[in-house]
């Protein structure tokens, strides 16, 4: 029997056969094509709206003069958000951060803040200098968002759109004066007020002078020098001539190098004429020579050498993540606390809505941070914090010589300095008193 031709075989296929074959093939094809999707599923590239990440803006200079200080702050924020993400996120959503660079220029801070809010940031964390904070406040007020500000500052300010994590003068400057006057501080009442010439030192010293006046004290002298000033030789002579027993320094930035050089050159003994700085922390000490600066003092809410288990673990984790030569310092610890306070507020509110978050904060929030318990004061939106005084060691760390018994409540408007002024965001906000000229007579 010869082979069938193609035509013969085609003729041999009935419609029924064709239908049966086609059905079998179609079923097999469908099963093959859809099996992977049915059994393993395929992830859509776009997440549903409820699962979109929460966006948070970081507002820190990464270039320019403020970069070295502010990048450490940014690092601790990244670390905090990464840990929150690793633990499942916030409200079941991951947190996405973005930090454009304001380049240490005050005029760029509000611009970058607007960019972050346009991007969809639910909250902003950042700023260091008072001028940058003051430039950003109108933006967050206009856009109804919250700024979390971690650095110690001069007080005399409160905004419903800012949560302040650092110390204000009643938590830092006044305890310094009290300590110097006490037996532990050597009963020193002749205090020389020295500062860089900008808003924080002038306001802080104004509060200090008012407080000293209320105690029957007068400063041994007062002097302001431009930021970046280096020639402190004549000034050291002036301090010595004033009969000062100690110096309260609000000198900021690189000027500290010149100040401590001049003190060392004049062979000033820190035991006899201690300089207490409000703006020197572990990060700043890297730029100062230990032999010039050791023995002098600093006032802060946190020191890396704090001997608690919580702090030891936090420092270890931070160094494990960023390097063993990295240091933790005052603004880093408050910012860590602020991130966690914000997280608690959002979780309590169940929403990112600013008013809901603020309402959650008004119920009172606490966070047990590496530096101890932090309480958010709902009236002022500032934090209750410990006051600590440290003596600088040769290894660029601090020996803690004094610590307040409990966290000190914040008072951005101490009545002896700003009579009639107060703020209570649980009841109406700021009560205004008469204008107080900072540079006026005491």
């Amino acid at each position: 029997m010869g082979q069938l031709t193609v035509a013969q075989r085609t003729r041999g296929v009935s419609r029924r056969d064709f239908g049966r074959h086609a059905g079998a093939a179609a079923t097999l094809a469908a099963a093959q094509a859809f099996a992977p999707f049915m059994f393993v599923g395929c992830r859509p590239t776009r997440l549903p709206a409820g699962r979109q990440p929460i966006r948070v803006g970081l507002l820190h200079s990464q270039t320019g003069t403020m970069a070295i200080s502010e990048t450490s702050l940014r690092d601790v924020e990244l670390f905090a958000f990464e840990q929150i993400n690793a633990s499942g996120g916030l409200l079941g959503r991951q947190i996405e951060v973005w930090g454009p660079d304001p380049k240490s220029r005050t005029d760029l801070y509000p611009k970058r803040a607007r960019e972050l809010l346009d991007w969809g940031a639910a909250a902003l964390f950042g700023c260091w200098t008072s001028s940058s904070r003051k430039a950003v406040v109108p933006v967050v007020e206009e856009r109804d968002r919250l700024l979390f500000y971690p650095v110690q500052y001069e007080g005399n300010e409160s905004s419903a759109h800012v949560v302040y994590g650092g110390l204000v003068p009643n938590q830092q400057i006044l305890p310094v004066i009290d300590w110097f006057s006490s037996a532990a501080g050597g009963g020193r009442k002749k205090i020389f007020l020295l500062g860089s010439d900008y808003i924080f030192p002038r306001t802080a010293n104004f509060v200090a002078k008012k407080y000293m006046a209320a105690q029957g004290m007068r400063p041994a002298g007062e002097m302001y020098l431009p930021l970046g000033h280096r020639d402190f030789g004549p000034l050291v002579n002036l301090i010595q001539a004033s009969g000062a027993e100690c110096v309260l320094s609000t000198i900021n930035g690189d000027s500290n190098i010149g100040l401590f050089q001049a003190l060392a050159a004049a062979r000033i003994d820190p035991e006899k004429l201690p300089v207490l700085s409000t703006s020197i922390a572990e990060d700043e000490l890297r730029n100062l020579l230990p032999e010039q600066v050791s023995g002098h003092l600093a006032a802060s809410c946190y020191f890396q050498s704090l001997p608690t288990e919580a702090n030891r673990r936090w420092v270890e984790d931070f160094r494990h993540e960023f390097g063993h030569d990295r240091v933790t310092s005052d603004p880093l610890e408050p910012q860590w606390g602020l991130v966690h306070l914000w997280r608690s507020a959002v979780e309590r509110a169940g929403s990112l809505d600013t008013e809901a978050v603020r309402a959650a904060m008004r119920d009172g929030l606490e966070f047990a941070g590496p530096g101890g318990l932090v309480r958010l004061d709902p009236k002022t939106q500032h934090c209750s914090r410990y006051f600590r005084l440290g003596r600088i060691r040769t290894d660029r760390q601090f020996d803690i010589v004094y610590q307040s018994d409990a966290p000190i409540d914040p008072d951005p408007y101490p009545q002896f300095a700003f009579p009639g002024w107060s703020c209570d965001w649980t009841q109406g906000g700021i009560t205004r008193g008469p204008e107080v000229p900072i540079d006026g007579d005491i």
Partner: protein
């Protein structure tokens, strides 16, 4: 082609099975539905199987060459990108060692910025690259480093030599970094994909024209289609060097960062 990028989010095994399933499924579906129609064209032709076989062989030579060349191109792209990432990490490592010899705090500040850059690249830039987004925030870190590097004023001949070497190394690093960013969207052009897909469809259609038992047809054509799907999966998996499981990883940066933080 961006509407197909979701395939890179799939596990590699699923991606492979899916590609094979699509090709085999297409072949089987066509065999059932189109075979009787297509066979009308050759039904009165003597030795039709031989003719289809000759044409298919001829076609397969060209198509095989095309697939081979495209596979090599995709592999070369991935390989070049991987080499460049390694070179960037090596340049970064050398730069880190150079600035470690600067006096502190300059040296420490420079090292911290390079560490920050490395960490950013691993944790933030890489996930963006995997989505085909060119990460831009690394530029801020590079600018910060450059600013601090240029701040340094050498005071001894040894420091002058070290500084000159650091600047040279910095340029090398910049060059490799730029190449990595350029390669984020490196891919086989869409027109080549169109030709590949068209070729596969023609290939399968020719197999439909063969005259043989239905089950034999299902099996033999299915095997051919499965291999076609595998080849095209291979090319797709290697395409886009930063996407999917078969992609360039930040491993050189991770090794460097471990060294940086543990030193």
């Amino acid at each position: 082609m961006h509407q197909f990028y979701w395939v890179y989010d799939l596990p590699i095994e699923t991606f492979a099975i899916m590609m094979i399933a699509v090709f085999v499924g297409f072949y089987w579906a066509g065999l059932g539905l189109l075979r009787p129609i297509l066979r009308q064209f050759v039904k009165n032709t003597r030795g039709a199987n031989d003719i289809v076989g000759y044409v298919l062989s001829c076609f397969c030579v060209f198509y095989g060459l095309l697939l081979g060349l495209i596979a090599v191109t995709a592999y070369q792209n991935a390989s070049d990108t991987s080499s460049n990432v390694t070179r960037e990490a090596a340049a970064l490592s050398a730069l880190y060692e150079d600035v470690s010899r600067y006096p502190d705090p300059y040296g420490q500040n420079l090292r911290w910025i390079l560490r920050d850059y490395t960490r950013y690249t691993i944790k933030y830039a890489w996930p963006l690259q995997r989505q085909g987004i060119v990460p831009v925030d690394g530029t801020i870190r590079v600018q910060a480093f450059q600013e601090k590097l240029l701040d340094f004023q050498p005071t001894t001949p040894a420091q002058e030599i070290l500084h000159a070497e650091s600047l040279r190394q910095f340029d090398t690093f910049l060059e490799h970094r730029r190449m990595r960013l350029f390669s984020v969207n490196t891919a086989i052009p869409p027109v080549m994909w169109y030709v590949v897909i068209l070729g596969a469809v023609i290939n399968i259609a020719m197999v439909w024209l063969f005259d043989m038992k239905f089950l034999t047809h299902l099996l033999l054509g299915g095997l051919l289609s499965a291999y076609l799907g595998t080849m095209i999966f291979l090319i797709a998996a290697m395409d886009h060097p930063f996407r999917g499981e078969v992609s360039v990883t930040p491993e050189p940066f991770e090794a460097l960062y471990t060294h940086m933080v543990e030193e």
